[in-house]
């Protein structure tokens, strides 16, 4: 063998290449197409969610003259948010907060009941990645064909497929960004402007940015977005309990796993034939047989794949199925799924959800179309007039949320002998009427003066009253009237 004169040293290079990889390359996942109930469900949800996304900005909603007729519109220029019958001013942004709270609690509730159902079915990242994988399969074939293509040297045919795939992805990205901007402007007008190059620069740049993010997240990064960028997988540990329905491999029934030939006995072995179909279809590149993992988005495609196999080898379905943590230890293949949906945790989430929704509904239904803000001058706090009376200044803001021009009378009550007048009018003029155009705020300066002896303390309460002269609606705000130290 070796020349005895040469000593064989037992050594390894300290900086061997494979040991000094500081940066890990992403290992590409080529998921195989799954067939079955969950795959069908995912197609349906994809169609519904995409339809909602693309159709919503085109729904019209008549709000009368002078107001946009788009059902859902974030009007940044005029600072209004429209959602069907709801119309929100910037100072009512707490409705959005309420909506976000409802969204968060709903997510908690759904996660407590069904695990990461949001991640698996309706998260935009999942829907678009699914769409991108669909395109990839259409152009390059299913998993095996794609694996071969990846290894194959670059030829004209491979290049063509690659260009076609990325081209379609980018088109999807453009359409995604293109639909997004319609939520921020009148959709038909913007649609025309986009093609005649009359749209605002921000519209084009928004489309460009969203095209890039859609292409990168859906086409290139895929599962990395879920695993590295999204906080939800890390939160799920706090949301998921022993009784949460998640995609579960029944280890008690499946193990010990191993290859199985037709006709062999199923005695003393598990039902898992280690065919790896569940691994091949997984878009996250994990093995569900390792148990519930942070990476698992519970898309249930492994359930479809395994059920297919179970049918072929004449075993009951459900080796992998939706089940609770507790349920996976039952080895009986024909067991019934037992889930306690009503538990303290789900009751608590439901109650909070109902409470927040009720508060939101109540405030929305009682939303005033007339609002009044009275801001007292602080500099100077008060002014002594030549006849010894005390004057205070106020800025009165009247918010007319209707779509008509309205006339409002401003009056003030609270002190004996108090006079009120608007800036410019002078104390003699008592016709305190303000005209506020539709859907806008008017701000007027008001002065109140009262004889010094009508104040019994340094600070007195006065009411500023605004009356809508057309409807008689009255809005009152109590403010203070300040005088010298008593």
């Amino acid at each position: 063998m070796a020349d005895s004169a040469v000593e064989n040293i037992d050594v390894q290079p300290v900086n061997k290449k494979e040991n000094r990889a500081l940066f890990e390359k992403r290992k590409k996942i080529q998921p195989k197409k799954a067939r079955g109930d969950f795959r069908r469900l995912k197609w349906i949800i994809m169609a519904v969610t995409l339809a909602i996304y693309y159709i919503t900005p085109w729904i019209r909603w008549d709000r009368g003259e002078g107001a946009p007729d788009q059902a859902v519109l974030v009007d940044l220029a005029r600072e209004r948010f429209y959602f069907f019958f709801i119309e929100i001013w910037p100072q009512e942004v707490y409705y959005i907060t309420g909506l976000l709270i409802i969204g968060a609690i709903s997510l908690f509730l759904v996660t407590a009941l069904f695990g990461r159902a949001w991640c698996g079915y309706s998260c935009p990242q999942t829907v678009w990645t699914d769409l991108f994988i669909f395109v990839e399969r259409l152009v390059e074939g299913d998993r095996n064909a794609r694996l071969r293509l990846d290894k194959a040297p670059m030829t004209a045919s491979k290049l063509g497929k690659r260009v076609l795939k990325h081209g379609i992805w980018i088109v999807i990205g453009v359409l995604t960004g293109g639909a997004w901007v319609f939520y921020f402007a009148d959709a038909p007008t913007l649609f025309r402007d986009l093609f005649t190059f009359n749209a605002a620069l921000i519209a084009y740049s928004s489309i460009a940015v969203l095209t890039a993010t859609t292409y990168v997240f859906g086409g290139l990064m895929r599962e990395q977005v879920c695993t590295y960028m999204c906080p939800w997988p890390r939160i799920q540990g706090a949301m998921v309990g022993d009784e949460t329905l998640t995609v579960t491999y029944h280890g008690a029934r499946g193990e010990p796993r191993g290859p199985h030939k037709k006709g062999e006995t199923w005695e003393n072995r598990g039902h898992c034939i280690d065919c790896n179909q569940c691994v091949a279809v997984c878009p996250m590149g994990i093995d569900i047989r390792d148990g519930l993992q942070m990476e698992c988005i519970t898309c249930a495609l492994c359930i479809d794949a395994c059920n297919d196999v179970m049918d072929k080898i004449d075993l009951p379905r459900g080796l992998i199925s939706y089940d609770t943590y507790a349920g996976q230890f039952d080895a009986n293949p024909n067991k019934k799924l037992k889930v306690r949906f009503v538990r303290p945790r789900t009751i608590a989430y439901s109650l909070i959800l109902a409470l927040v929704a009720a508060i939101m509904l109540f405030t929305l239904l009682n939303r005033s179309i007339l609002e009044l803000n009275v801001i007292r001058d602080r500099n100077p706090l008060f002014v002594t007039l030549s006849d010894g009376s005390i004057r205070n200044g106020y800025t009165v803001k009247i918010l007319n949320k209707t779509h008509d021009t309205r006339r409002y009378r401003i009056t003030a009550e609270g002190l004996k002998g108090m006079q009120s007048w608007l800036q410019l009018d002078g104390p003699q003029d008592h016709d305190l009427v303000v005209i506020v155009p539709e859907d806008s705020v008017s701000s007027v300066k008001m002065f109140l003066s009262a004889p010094a002896d009508s104040l019994s303390s340094k600070t007195e309460d006065v009411d500023v009253i605004v009356t809508d002269l057309d409807t008689g609606q009255v809005e009152v705000q109590t403010t203070s009237f300040k005088g010298p130290d008593k």
Binding site: N19, F23, E24, K25, P380, V383, G393
Partner: protein, 290 residues
């Protein structure tokens, strides 16, 4: 040593070789995208050096390809702002002051501009809320030394009071004691009388009667027979609740003895006409305008 550091069996990742109380640290590789992001920022910074002003030289700096400078950009913004204001400012100067008040667009522009010009030029003496101070009148109230109409206010701001401008408003409160016009006792009497005009309590009735004669002889020529003041001389009304320098007896005695001659500068040479008009309308709007 056959391997540099031990590999973790479960994750297959190399450890850092550090160990504390049996706890070892994984040397988990960074993801590639992180590395690319870092490279991208480095490339970005090189591009930035080329395009934008970046490196200081001995007496200048590298200007960058697009010639950006924050000073020029400020000048641009300022001249854009000036251009945007041009129409409103022109309207301010060409329209009669009293007519501006019925033109909402110009009037609101004037009030906003007046407010900021007031903060810059006037608040030092009159206070940020125009509330005044002893010797500096409160512009919110309804007493005006020189008149509270827009035209009077305009003239006051323009030429000032006792300023060095030829058209300035003039009016002197003499120093009756220092110039030996009155005896201390007479000053005491007239001070008592002045206090009685605004119904102050605890006065010496005899002194008031004596003071009334002194007032008629020495003071009425400016302050008026009824002591309600004369705007021609900027002489204040002594019968109302508002005091320019202070309404206690000590201050009144001091005012009569030493005289008063506070100055309001003339603004005509310091501010342009549009700004003076803005200030006029703003001051007029504070609540006491006539």
């Amino acid at each position: 040593m056959t391997e540099k550091f031990e590999k973790d069996e479960i994750s297959g990742t190399q450890t850092t070789g550090h160990e504390w109380d049996g706890i070892k640290e994984l040397d988990t590789p960074m993801p590639r995208w992180w590395l690319w992001t870092m490279y991208a920022t480095i490339i970005w910074s090189i591009g930035y050096w080329i395009v934008m002003p970046a490196w200081p030289l001995v007496s200048s700096y590298t200007a960058g390809m697009i010639g950006y400078s924050s000073r020029a950009s400020l000048e641009n913004v300022m001249s854009e702002a000036a251009a945007a204001h041009a129409t409103d400012r022109a309207a301010l100067v060409t329209t009669e002051l009293s007519e501006i008040q019925s033109d909402q667009q110009t009037y609101q522009y004037a009030l906003r501009g007046g407010k900021s010009a007031f903060a810059v030029n006037c608040s030092q003496c009159h206070g940020s809320g125009a509330q005044g101070a002893p010797g500096f009148p409160n512009l919110n109230d309804d007493e005006w030394l020189w008149g509270g109409s827009v035209d009077s206010i305009y003239e006051t701001i323009k030429y000032g009071i006792r300023s060095d401008h030829d058209d300035t408003r003039l009016g002197d409160m003499p120093a009756f004691l220092d110039d030996e016009l009155l005896e201390p006792a007479q000053i005491n009497d007239v001070a008592e009388y002045v206090l009685s005009l605004s119904q102050q309590p605890d006065l010496d009735a005899e002194a008031v009667t004596r003071g009334k004669e002194v007032f008629a002889a020495e003071c009425a020529s400016c302050h008026g027979e009824n002591a309600k003041g004369l705007r021609e001389f900027g002489a204040p009304n002594l019968t109302d609740a508002i005091w320019f320098y202070g309404g206690d007896k000590e201050t009144i005695v001091r005012t009569i003895s030493k005289g008063r001659a506070n100055v309001m500068p003339a603004w005509v040479d310091r501010l342009d006409d549009a700004t003076i008009r803005q200030l006029t309308l703003y001051v007029h709007s504070l609540g006491g305008g006539e």
